[in-house]
Amino acid sequence: MAEEKVIEKEVTLLNRYGLHVRPAGLFAKTASRYDADITVEKDGVEVSGKSIMALMTLEAVSGSVLKLKVSGPEAEDLLEEIEALVARKFDIPDEQ
């Protein structure tokens, strides 16, 4: 089997309150829609990007840098959508 390609990318959280329940929920929901694996690393802790609970426990406040590792057939599409979501501050009006 060919070795699977892992794309790595760093994103910075821009919304006011960081990766709390709402953004983490949107993150996990988006990640679950794709045929791809995603992990999120912050300060040496790496968790599944499809688990809202795990994402919340990262305590990623505003300005945190998250390292995303994505692999699988739809890895590029997933990465693109997550990046856009983070850049749009998760579309949360109070946190723009």
Binding site: Y17, V21, R22, G25, S51, M53, M56
Partner: protein
């Protein structure tokens, strides 16, 4: 607690039953109405049942069924909410659905049932407890509070497993003030928002779920009321003041009339001054006068934007001490200060927060800290206290400095009466900076540092003091009190509390001139800055910044806009001519007539200041 009486007149008849409870001003606005009491009562007690090995599959099945019902409940609530147009609860509940769907979460619960041979309820509790522990250790307060969402999902699943009733608002049929111990997103999702006049809760902070919801809906709320839910019952009449953070239970007729009048004033003020709620403070002739807000922990920071503050000119840190009667830690202080600089940062235009270090003593005495003194106003208060308790000062300066890395901050020392105090305080600031550098913690190396001018000695020595300061801020309350040697709170001498006494005016003018000669800023941060007559008088005497309760900013902005630099110079010339020949009262009256002649609708504006009691 009073027995219930005929509904319509209960608040009139129960004169002795009136009480006012103070809490956090969480969402602005006022409401008067009947209480609807909704008790949710914290943690659900669960049966801790061990099970036989054969029953594990059955318990897992019970859990999965409960999980499915929980999903169905939330789906239904989401549908209902979407039909109503949706609000903050919609997004939060969507996330709750994600928590329930979280594969790793349910896998851990099922594993816990198999590994420990316990019932589904116990497993849910154990696994959620593990998650809770992670949240409890979080440093960020906002993040830490999201544990409530995890609690909420846990409660939902447990209620289903144990077949308990769900909706605390089943009997809400008429407009009411919701009083609760605490409210979770799933509780408020089931709430008919058009029946809610306001919220009052035991629990909570200004960033709890109910706080966010109330602000999003524009409904007044007071939180952190400790035991309000055990003091009232459904049907009691209450007055809710979300602007100042107070709830009055069973008010008497005169209290209610006063409240109604206040509400009416607020409404008219908002309407009349709507167009003055934003933009920089500026004279008709174009000179800038900075209009900033006084603030403190627990006050709604949304007010800054709402009333167009250009920053926080006075942040009263002592409320962190008074609130708990205890020493707040560096981290606790940092959180409060960071929230303030963030809120100011959102105002744009380089808005900053001026933190006044602990101003304690005189009339503000946390029991634990102070020795009894025969003459507290002339005793060991404010900077004097801090210089004798350097650990307290250093901790506070570190917290302020840490906040300065997040947004623009300044430090201000209160009650400086000798230039050496300023020098020593600044050396403490330098030490705090050094310790942060050693710890590798970022801060603003160029943070501005100023003195409150509120003693006659500081004003008289303003030239020398200015050489040690980046700015002055005149605290008019204390300056008047110390100059006139009269306690405003003492009815027998209150007539001597005269902000326009020539002695006070001379000191203000001296201070402003010394600042201007030294090329530093000079503001007034006493509540007199919001007095419709005094605000402009201070400007005429050379003051360049007025800081006051945010609500008064639009009115003051309107007054400044109507007057020019020429008017200011003219008023200053008149007042200077009066200093040796007129009384305080005559000078005030003159200023009032001056403004009446120059400012369109000044009487209307003035009438809105009736609540501008100097604090």
């Amino acid at each position: 607690m009073q027995e219930s009486q005929t509904r319509d007149t209960s608040w009139v008849a129960q004169k002795g039953g009136m009480e006012t409870v103070a809490g956090l001003a969480t969402s602005r606005g006022f409401a008067a109405g009947e209480v609807y009491l909704a008790l949710r009562g914290g943690r659900i007690a669960i049966p801790e049942r061990a099970i036989a090995p054969d029953d594990a599959d059955g318990e897992v099945l019970r859990y999965r069924t409960a999980q499915k019902s929980a999903k169905a409940q939330i789906d239904k609530m989401l549908d209902d909410l979407r039909q109503d147009g949706g609000d903050d609860s919609l997004m939060v509940l969507a996330s709750h659905l994600e928590i329930i769907n979280d594969v790793s979460f349910s896998a851990r619960i099922e594993k816990c049932i198999y590994d420990n041979r316990i019932c589904a309820e116990s497993a849910v509790r154990r696994v959620t407890d593990e998650v809770r522990q992670i949240f409890m250790r979080m440093k960020d307060k906002y993040m830490r509070e999201r544990v409530k969402d995890v609690d909420d999902v846990e409660s939902r699943i447990l209620r289903i497993l144990m077949d308990r009733d769900d909706n605390p608002f089943a009997y809400l049929v008429k407009p009411s003030i919701i009083v609760a111990d605490e409210l979770a997103p799933s509780d408020t999702a089931a709430l008919k928002k058009d029946l809610v006049l306001g919220f009052a809760t035991d629990d909570g902070s200004t960033t709890s779920h109910v706080a966010l919801l109330a602000r999003a809906l524009g409904i007044p709320a007071v939180t952190g009321l400790a035991d309000i839910s055990s003091r009232v019952k459904s049907g009691d009449f209450v007055l809710l003041d979300g602007t100042n953070g107070a709830v009055t239970i069973n008010p008497d007729a005169s209290t209610r009339a006063a409240f109604d009048q206040m509400v009416e004033h607020e409404r008219q003020l908002a309407e009349f001054l709507a167009e003055d709620s934003s933009g920089a403070g500026v004279l008709k002739s174009g000179e800038r006068i900075v209009l900033s807000a006084n603030s403190q922990p627990g006050v709604d920071l949304c007010d800054l934007k709402r009333f167009g503050a250009e920053g926080i000119g006075l942040y009263r840190t002592e409320y962190l001490w008074l609130k708990s009667n205890d020493e707040p830690s560096e981290d606790e202080q940092f959180e409060a200060y960071a929230a303030a600089v963030r809120a100011a940062g959102e105002l744009g235009g380089g808005a900053r927060v001026t933190f006044r270090t602990l101003d304690i003593g005189g009339d503000k005495l946390p029991r634990m800290m102070m020795q009894r003194e025969a003459n507290p106003f002339l005793g060991c208060r404010s900077i004097r206290y801090l210089l004798r308790h350097r650990d307290v000062l250093r901790t506070q300066l570190r917290a302020i400095l840490r906040a300065s890395a997040i947004g623009k901050a300044a430090v201000m020392f209160p009650m400086v009466s000798d230039v050496r105090e300023m020098v020593e305080a600044k050396s403490e600031l330098a030490l705090a900076m050094r310790s942060l550098r050693e710890d590798g913690i970022p801060f603003d190396e160029h943070i501005q540092c100023g003195a409150m001018v509120e003693t006659p000695s500081a004003a008289l020595n303003a030239v020398r003091l200015a050489s040690e300061c980046d700015f002055f801020s005149i605290g008019t309350n204390d300056l008047v009190q110390y100059t006139m040697a009269a306690d405003r709170g003492n009815g027998n001498v209150a007539n001597l509390y005269q902000p326009t006494n020539p002695a006070v005016l001379r000191l203000v003018q001296m201070t402003a001139k010394a600042a201007s000669d030294a090329g530093i800023g000079c503001g007034v941060c006493g509540e007199s800055a919001s007095d419709p007559v005094l605000g402009f008088l201070w400007v005429a005497l050379g003051v360049g910044e007025l800081s006051m309760s945010a609500g008064f900013l639009p009115a003051q902005r309107r007054i400044l806009k109507a007057l020019s630099k020429c008017d200011a110079d003219e008023l200053a010339a008149y007042v200077n001519g009066f200093l040796d020949v007129r009384t305080a009262e005559e000078i005030y009256d003159f200023c009032l007539r001056f403004l009446l002649a120059k400012v369109p609708r000044f009487e209307d504006i003035q009438s809105f200041f009736t609540r501008a009691q100097t604090v």
